[in-house]
């Protein structure tokens, strides 16, 4: 699909509004997490991209290709805004999260590490994804239902997003943000993807949001 066609689907102004909404939403999510585990989350400028759904898995694989292995929390959401969120961390993050969530307690070899890592990712994922997607929905006057989070620990960085997530011939919007925890050397990506099904509603919701300020 050519650039002209994709530009028709989401304009520069719509991209700006969505970027600002993602900025506000991830700020809320970071504040919730920081309150829960006494960290400071360094935020970056979010990025919005429109692409063919079929190219989505490759795009995300490329974004995270500096990671050898990854741990992923995936959560689907349904409302007028419909899609999936993928929280991606590099190798070794699980043990750091266990320590953070445990208030600095040391992790021993005898501890059930895998289960603790799963639980830590699930907890952090629930907060970051729930607060971020929830705030986007709130700002756009929508109500969202979530699937339970699916956690995958230490897998190869390829194939984070299933190829059949959205219809093959449709388009998708990716909202991406990179974050770091100031302490503990933890960083990761949050990708929120929405399918073409939501586009018509999304465009009108974005302008409705902006119209409050005109």
């Amino acid at each position: 699909m050519g650039d002209c066609k994709t530009q028709e689907m989401i304009s520069a102004e719509e991209t700006d509004i969505l970027q600002e909404i993602m900025n506000i939403a991830f700020g809320r999510a970071a504040a919730d997490l920081a309150e829960y585990i006494d960290i400071y989350v360094i935020l970056s400028v979010p990025y919005v991209k429109l692409l063919r759904a079929v190219d989505l898995p490759h795009y995300i694989d490329t974004e995270i290709n500096s990671y050898d292995k990854v741990s992923v929390v995936e959560q689907k959401f349904w409302g007028k805004f419909k899609g999936a969120a993928f929280l991606v961390f590099p190798t070794g993050t699980g043990k750091k999260l266990i320590t953070l969530l445990d208030g600095g307690a040391q992790v021993f070899e005898s501890d059930p590490i895998y289960e603790l890592e799963m639980e830590s990712f699930r907890e952090v994922g629930n907060i970051l994804i729930g607060a971020c997607v929830g705030k986007i929905a709130e700002l756009l006057d929508d109500v969202i239902t979530y699937s339970p989070p699916r956690v995958v620990v230490e897998k190869k960085h390829c194939g984070v997003v299933p190829v059949d997530l959205f219809e093959e011939n449709s388009m998708a919007i990716v909202l991406k943000t990179l974050f770091e925890f100031n302490e503990n050397n933890v960083s990761g990506y949050l990708f929120i993807v929405t399918s073409q099904e939501s586009f018509a509603w999304l465009k009108s919701a974005l302008y409705k949001f902006l119209s409050q300020y005109e």
Partner: protein
């Protein structure tokens, strides 16, 4: 009295929202910058009475830009307007000399109140 306002934010939508929250009947003169570094340059050129500054920006973030502005002009009134609502971020902004910290998206009433406080501060200096 406030005459000139500088808005430093990388998001055109955010600038539009900020401007819509500022009373239109006061005849303020505006200038804008889309990153912290440009914000510092604009400050020196434009000499605003009040600066609204985002935190998360490319090239130079709002913390560094505010520090540079206050180093240049210790009387600068810099209002941080940010989506980063972590307690530590807000505390750091105050420590570095922010006149006020406002959460995004801003409300008209909040901005009007901040401008009123800024006017009082400026009046005290006269």
């Amino acid at each position: 009295m406030i005459k000139k306002i500088l808005i430093v934010d990388d998001s055109p939508v955010s600038v539009k929202i900020m401007k819509s929250c500022i009373p239109k009947d006061k005849g303020y003169e505006f200038s804008e910058a889309n990153n912290g570094e440009m914000g510092v340059e604009k400050y020196k050129e434009f000499r605003p009475d009040v600066t609204f500054m985002d935190l998360t920006m490319p090239v130079m973030n709002g913390f560094d830009a505010m520090q540079a502005i206050i180093k240049y002009d210790e009387n600068a009134l810099v209002v941080i307007v940010t989506a980063d609502i972590q307690i530590k971020a807000m505390a750091r902004a105050h420590e570095l000399g922010a006149f006020a910290v406002v959460k995004k998206p801003p409300a008209k009433e909040t901005i009007a109140a901040v401008l009123e406080q800024a006017n009082k501060k400026l009046a005290e200096r006269c």
